[in-house]
């Protein structure tokens, strides 16, 4: 879909470039943070392997989960490490990938040079291959010393096995399990333009751009720009940023941001009771995510739309799997077709989609509280406090009690308890507006025979139903600033620092000036100085729990 419209996108980006020159207030100075050390996510690992070696390489293995921080996996990557069980998997995947690269038919593509002999080491040829892939995998050129060690591994393994190619295969496998590949290790250097201060080096900049905009490692051209020092000049940086933004691969970047923001990793283990929701299955779960991501990419990238319209858009994409749950007729063919809910249809916006309704619900029932909490935390960046430990839910939650047939009735009774009232008052009215969507997002007008009342209030704005709730979120000033906050955290692997408030304010103003268009926000961020501001790595005792463990344990 978006492929066909690519020219529009190019135009839009070009227009943006023009509009950027000399508009808006000057970027304020800002504090930085130490360079990040982020573990690759599964999505990134898979995409890099496909980019570097081809998408026909099978990746068989399990990636150990990364613990979400500040609401994002991408921030969690900046605290994650590799456990023994996790490394076992990385080792096995690395060997398996390397073995595929040396299968007949692929080997000559991977190894462009011819060794002197198949049964002996050839350091020159091995070095050529290991330097080429090392650069793409480590996202910077290998130093001569680093390359020497890799070549020595290939040499020794070739000698031991009596085969040049298996020696090279072993050495290439090590590149796939080295920390320089599995972690995005940023580096700082002295800033020649501002003596006494540090800046991110060009390769770290290249990675930041590429992981933000394409959710993968820098391509050859971006690395070449880093080699040339282009990324340290305004013009050179802008050329690369605009190239990345104009590419169809921006879709993957946008998908990366929103998959993380919406916590779609929850779908990996989301289960629904098969008797209560017989329509739900793994295909529905997968397609529900795809539907939402398509809606997002269509609005934000293809149409260069206003981010806030995500909460009100009637435009969506349907396939044969989801159509029946929406009661929407879908042509009996495979694939996705755009669909527009009629004016006045109870559905519009992300909150009314199956992905949101199903993910933020229980296995056997909807959950106004989980949904309300998700709206507050994901879209408005407002933290809902944890519930108190000692709470009596029972009376209010008895669905067999004739007085409390609907969730509203039950929760209203619950809110009479003053310890609960404070938090439930900020969650439930939002979630109750979505009660017309059951635990998998199918539409309903009543619960246990009683009609559902979907009215409520969000930060002083009253609404009658889910449509008006979407409008209220759209109009809430926190919606836009929350996205800016989320994008910043996603892009830099950390929350804004204390001394960054004014700068964040500037970024927010830019987002507004640009009509709340997300590619424009990404561009403003990617071209700013503040995005690359660094402070020296934190000093401290060079001790770790690992170092304290007995050697050899």
């Amino acid at each position: 879909m978006s492929r066909i419209l690519a020219p529009c996108r190019l135009l839009a980006v070009a227009a943006l470039t023009l509009s950027l020159a000399g508009c808006g207030p000057r970027e304020p100075d800002t504090a930085g943070a130490p360079p990040a050390v982020q573990r690759l996510t599964e999505r990134q690992y898979r995409q890099i392997i496909a980019d570097v070696f081809g998408d026909d390489i099978r990746i068989v293995g399990r990636f150990e989960p990364i613990v979400r921080k500040e609401g994002l996996i991408e921030v969690g990557t900046n605290a994650a490490t590799v456990t023994p069980a996790g490394f076992e998997q990385f080792d096995s995947m690395a060997r398996n990938i390397a073995a595929q690269l040396f299968e007949p038919g692929r080997r000559d593509r991977v190894v462009p040079c011819k060794p002197h002999a198949d049964n002996a080491p050839d350091d020159a040829c091995a070095g050529q291959v290991l330097a080429k892939y090392g650069r793409l995998l480590f996202r910077r050129p290998l130093s001569p010393d680093e390359l020497k060690v890799r070549v020595a591994v290939a040499h020794e393994a070739a000698a031991a096995s009596g085969n040049f190619y298996s020696g090279l295969q072993f050495a290439l496998a090590t590149e796939l399990e080295m920390p320089e590949f599995l972690f995005r290790i940023e580096a700082a250097e002295a800033d020649p333009d501002h003596p006494g201060t540090m800046r991110l080096d060009a390769y770290s900049k290249a990675s930041r751009l590429s992981f933000l905009l394409w959710n993968t490692a820098p391509d050859d051209e971006l690395l070449a720009a880093a080699d040339r020092g282009d990324l340290n000049s305004e013009r050179g940086l802008a050329r690369q940023v605009d190239r990345l933004l104009a590419s169809p691969r921006l879709d993957a970047g946008i998908r990366g941001v929103f998959t993380d923001m919406l916590a779609f990793d929850g779908f990996e283990t989301l289960a629904k009771d098969a008797m209560i929701y017989p329509a739900f299955n793994a295909t529905v779960a997968a397609d529900a995510q795809e539907q939402t991501l398509r809606t997002i990419v269509d609005l934000l990238v293809t149409r260069q739309g206003d981010y806030r319209d995500l909460f009100t858009t009637r435009r969506i994409f349907m396939d044969r799997v989801l159509g029946p749950i929406y009661y929407v007729p879908v042509a009996p063919k495979h694939g996705w077709t755009p669909y527009e809910f009629a004016e006045g249809d109870p559905r519009a916006g992300l909150l009314s989609q199956i992905s949101f309704a199903a993910l933020y619900a229980h296995p056997g029932q909807s959950s106004p509280t989980l949904r309300g909490k998700a709206v507050r935390e994901l879209f408005l960046c407002q933290k809902v406090p944890a519930p108190p430990a000692n709470v009596n839910f029972a009376v209010a939650q008895d669905t067999s009690n004739p007085d409390y047939k609907t969730a509203r009735a039950r929760l209203t009774a619950h809110r009479t308890n003053p310890t609960c009232a404070g938090c439930h008052r900020i969650m439930d009215p939002i979630g109750l507006a979505l009660e017309n969507f059951d635990g998998i997002g199918a539409f309903r007008t009543d619960e246990n025979g009683a009609p559902i009342d979907a009215s409520g209030e969000l930060d002083g704005v009253r609404f009658a139903n889910a449509l008006e709730l979407g409008k209220a979120v759209h109009d809430n000033p926190a919606a836009a600033s929350c996205l800016v906050d989320t994008v910043f955290k996603y892009a830099s692997g950390r929350a804004p620092a204390k001394g960054q408030r004014e700068w964040m304010g500037w970024l927010n103003a830019r987002f507004a000036t640009e009509g709340y268009r997300v590619p424009a926000l990404l561009r403003a961020l990617a071209l700013s100085d503040g995005f690359y501001a660094v402070s020296p790595p934190e000093a401290g005792k060079p001790v770790s729990t690992a170092a304290l463990r007995p050697e050899g344990s």
């Binding site: 031991a160 790595p537 000093a539």
Partner: protein, 443 residues
Amino acid sequence: MTITRRNILRGAAAGFGATVALPLLDCMLDTNGTVLASGAPLPLRFGTWFWGCGMNPSRWNPKATGADYEITPELKPIEPIRSKICVLSKFDVLLDGKSNFVHSSGNLGIRTGQAPAQADQSELPTIDVLIADAIGGATRFRSLELTASGNPRHSYSRRSTSVVNPSEGSPVAFYTRLFGPDFQDPNAADFKPDPAVMLRRSVLSSVSDDRARLAARIGAADRARLDEYFTSVRQLEQQLELQLQKPPPAEACVIPKKPADGPLGQDIEVSTANHKLLAELLAMALACNQTKVFNMVFSDSASSLTKAGTDKTHHTLTHEELADPQLDYQPQATWFGSRSLEAWAQFVGVLAAVKEGDGTLLDNCLVLAHSDTSFAKTHDVLGIPIMLAGRAGGRVKTGIHIAGNGEPVTRIGLTLQQVMGLPIDRWGAGAMQTAKPVSELLV
């Protein structure tokens, strides 16, 4: 003798017959276990078993202590194994003025010796990690983490908040990890070090070559994270080193059949079936000396177990179900609790069914079973139900009930670590710090 990459490569290049000397396995030095017919001592193992959402204290806790305690209504499922386990009631997690973070304060309090200051956040390692650091080094796997739920995030084995040992939830994947191509049958008649493994080990050691340079340019916190990574690399190197020498025989080791692919999930029937398959594979992993430390999660903290056709999870029921006025408890929530205890009894039975030495595999294990709350409805962390199984090679008593009467739960963790040979005289932090082991447990 130290092993360098070059040594091994020379051996590999010289014709694949080289013998490689390795340090003695510490299981060979263990003198307290039951003894094999051959006179070799048996290794001592430690494990945890977790279920979510606790019990009803008045129906679970026995009144009498010692060997003659009465089987209470909710302890019925453990009746067949009562001689093999200890019941520990009324040991408390002390919050020390911190909030009770629901479903995390109790669990982390028991496992780390300190109630967390923020929900699910603790920089202290869990007890299994402490024990694995001490005894897990000489086996193929430092520890094995499993979950009957199929969700790899369901793991309560961790070195810190962000270093969580992921759980294996698929019996097929677990089988392959254990008994796949890298498995060495300890009872195989002949042994020849595999030259391919020699190469792998040697090549792998090159991964850490640049460690010092890398460490020099990053901050202390990130250095600690990369140290974790390098420790994991080292762990794999050790696995490969072990594969290069003839494993000591393990008479109880029988290579199991590969399980069939089945559904994964938290429907209680699915979890129960999955749990049994994982338990049987784990028993053989222990009997075949693949690990000495394990963690099994039957259901997650705040149990998400479901029963087909009903709309509420176990956790939701503990809060929303009305107590039956006649019974005076929540029948549906309690049903999940009983099913959890049945699974525990089955787990203990699986370990006890493996003959080892002059006893059973269970005799050489010490397994800590516990939940995240006592009465889940109020998230009570006082008197969280705890049980121990196995005799730890004759070091601890079984068949008794010990009541803590408000003593800190860390006394149990301290005792377990001391029994497993850790040289510590106190454990826990703040109000939970203790130097007093549970002496009633000790033989």
